[in-house]
């Protein structure tokens, strides 16, 4: 059966195919020297093609992090045919290939188009790929699946003539649950799908979040926007930003700066004034249109599988490994006989988010056999099988173990978010991946990790913060100092519904010191917590940075 996801209509297909043909022509003209690099660079960026340290990089969009088995197999094919046998899932639910030759990228894009995928709007000052809760449509705590609305915004924002050249890039995220798994407060617009007291669907609208060199959390400018006014209201926000946002200074051009400088109330006033001209007009969504898109996301028919309880109980008794995996990597589904499984791409000592072509094929097979052919990408750089019968969990576990994809570490210290860093990225100042690997190896004992409990550790290799270090419970930012690497530590960040920005704890650490520093922080936490129920972030909020400063810097901290 087809997974519950949007399928291209004739317009989408023709549009994407036309863009592939257009880019093929642009690449040919560039290689023949008919257009200059200055002319070509913005064109390649509009097609997701960057130039990095070792080669070009192709960033492929995965709308709201939803993939079918067929699409994941195509990504495996791209990795095998045009790259070096692997891909890297990003914190924006996209995938990057780090080695394609420019001359072959049009062929790769044509292959992607055959499975309704593309790389459009994965770069440039436009509305980027729209992200969503990776458990959308499956989570037990969800009010409604936000992906149909994300798809409506995707269609609206694709090649939008008014919004293709904004002051800066623009990112939108959705959650359909009170518990925010999509980090919406770190987005230019965060949309929280909810019901009001009358039971009607709508959105809490958050605006002006962002990370980078000026991290700011989004402000809620509207508590309830009727869902049919999504397009009109988002248009009003982006229009106000497009007209009033700064274009004179790249570092002050994101909407977060505008909202911060104007103040959320004044920004909201401008938006509401603009919206007065738009609401109830052409951009109001007819229920029939919402229904038509929702039909694509209709959940798979989930037959009752009551034998799951017995199967899981037996497997728990039979295997400690399975039991650990069940506790960490499997979450409740809205159907009691099913579960959502997180496939860890954080095997100890490996690169966070990397996956080989063979592993992609294997996950596609597992999803097809046990998960209705559906896969999600999380912003935490893992994969998710959103609909797995509990009765099939032992088989899924065994199949993932065989691929090295069953590390039981979700939300633990080795489930590290890390950008590609200086090993690949031309913007980076320091390496991220080796630091992540060394920390994971230092804490390789899963028993120790479980004892520590939930701890989100995020690493970025530069101030652009692709590794979300500002919102890690422990954040690590790599900088270049005197030709070497230095790692600055922040504590107390969080990306959920209680979002907070981490605070710099003190002077940075060299590459040989940073793992010890993390261990010191963790040991300090363990020594001070009330009990295991008090998570690292809870303790930090109770005690602040002082005990950590003392542990890390001792007398130096007291003098300061």
């Amino acid at each position: 059966m087809e997974p519950s996801m949007y399928r291209y209509d004739e317009f989408d297909r023709a549009f994407v195919e036309a863009r592939v043909a257009q880019f093929r022509d642009q690449v040919e003209r560039r290689l023949k020297g008919e257009i200059t690099e200055d002319q070509f660079k913005p064109l390649r960026l509009q097609n997701g093609v960057y130039l990095q340290l070792h080669a070009y990089m192709l960033r492929v969009a995965i709308p709201y992090g939803t993939l079918s088995s067929r699409q994941l197999r195509m990504l495996a094919h791209i990795a095998r045919t045009y790259d070096k046998g692997y891909g890297h899932f990003t914190t924006r639910q996209n995938i990057q290939f780090h080695w394609p030759a420019l001359a072959e990228i049009p062929d790769a894009l044509a292959d992607l188009a055959s499975v309704e995928m593309h790389a459009l709007q994965t770069s440039g000052n436009c509305i980027r790929n729209i992200s969503a809760d990776h458990f959308a449509g499956a989570a037990a705590d969800e009010v409604a699946d936000p992906r149909p609305y994300a798809e409506i915004l995707r269609q609206w924002s694709s090649a939008h003539p008014e919004f293709s050249f904004l002051p800066r890039k623009f990112k939108i995220a959705f959650t359909g649950a009170e518990r925010d798994r999509a980090a919406i407060q770190t987005y230019d617009i965060g949309l929280h799908l909810k019901r009001n007291a009358e039971g009607e669907l709508g959105f809490a609208v958050w605006v002006g979040g962002g990370q980078g060199r000026t991290p700011i959390l989004a402000k809620k400018i509207r508590d309830f926007l009727p869902h049919e006014e999504l397009l009109s209201y988002v248009t009003a926000i982006v229009r106000v930003y497009n007209l009033e946002g700064r274009r004179d200074n790249k570092w002050k051009a994101r909407i977060k700066i505008m909202v911060h400088e104007l103040g959320a109330a004044e920004f909201a006033r401008l938006v509401e004034a603009e919206w007065e001209n738009l609401k109830g007009g052409d951009l109001s969504l007819p229920q029939a249109d919402i229904d038509a898109i929702e039909a694509y996301f209709a959940p798979p028919a989930l037959p009752d599988r009551p034998e799951g309880d017995a199967a899981v109980r037996a497997a728990r008794l039979d295997s400690r490994t399975f039991s650990d995996w069940l506790d960490r990597n499997v979450v409740t589904h809205r159907h009691p006989d099913y579960a959502a499984v997180t496939v860890s791409l954080k095997a100890i000592g490996e690169t966070p988010g990397d996956i080989s072509d063979a592993q992609m094929d294997a996950v596609a097979d597992i999803a097809e056999r046990y998960g209705f052919g559906e896969i999600r990408v999380s912003h935490e750089q893992n994969l998710v099988l959103p609909h797995v019968a509990r009765a099939d969990l032992p088989a899924v576990h065994d199949a993932l173990v065989a691929q090295g994809l069953a590390t039981s570490n979700i939300d633990l210290i080795s489930d590290i978010i890390a950008c590609p860093g200086l090993d690949y990225c031309s913007l980076a100042n320091a390496r991220s991946i080796p630091v992540a690997q060394q920390i994971a190896l230092r804490f390789s004992s899963l028993e120790r990790q479980r004892e520590i409990g939930e701890l989100k550790l995020n690493i970025s290799g530069c101030i652009n913060a692709c590794g979300h270090h500002h919102v890690g419970h422990i954040g690590i930012l790599g900088v270049e100092k005197k030709g070497g690497e230095l790692y600055q530590v922040t504590l107390g960040g969080a990306a959920d519904e209680h979002a907070s920005l981490g605070e710099i704890v003190g002077r940075g650490f060299g590459p040989e010191e940073i793992v010890d520093a993390v261990e010191t922080i963790v040991e300090t936490y363990l020594s001070l917590r009330h009990d295991r129920a008090e998570r690292f972030i809870d303790l930090y909020r109770r005690l602040g940075a002082a005990p950590f400063k003392e542990a890390l810097y001792g007398a130096e901290a007291r003098v300061a």
């Binding site: 340290l53 070792h54 080669a55 090993d423 080796p434 690997q437 270049e480 070497g484």
Partner: protein, 103 residues
Amino acid sequence: MKVLTANRLFDGEAVWLAADHSWAETLPAAHVAHDEADEERLAAHGKLSAARNEVVDVELIDVQLVDGAIVPLRLRERIRAAGPTVRGDLGKQARAVPALAAA
């Protein structure tokens, strides 16, 4: 001391300008400029090569000689010359002819 580096247009491969004005795929084959006049000659050639659509992102980078080997001063350039430090099987370092160890 400086060498001239760039990325090859058609595949993005990191390259360095050799003494014969060809673009070498490994750093040890690069021509080292020891004075400003030589640097200017390298830069002029790089500009010409970019205009001929052979390479992009042309840049003079600082290097030093360590036991006769060319070593870029910045880690970034050492990684470009070797490959990802976390994937010894990829990049120049994976070739039969040894490249520079990055870090």
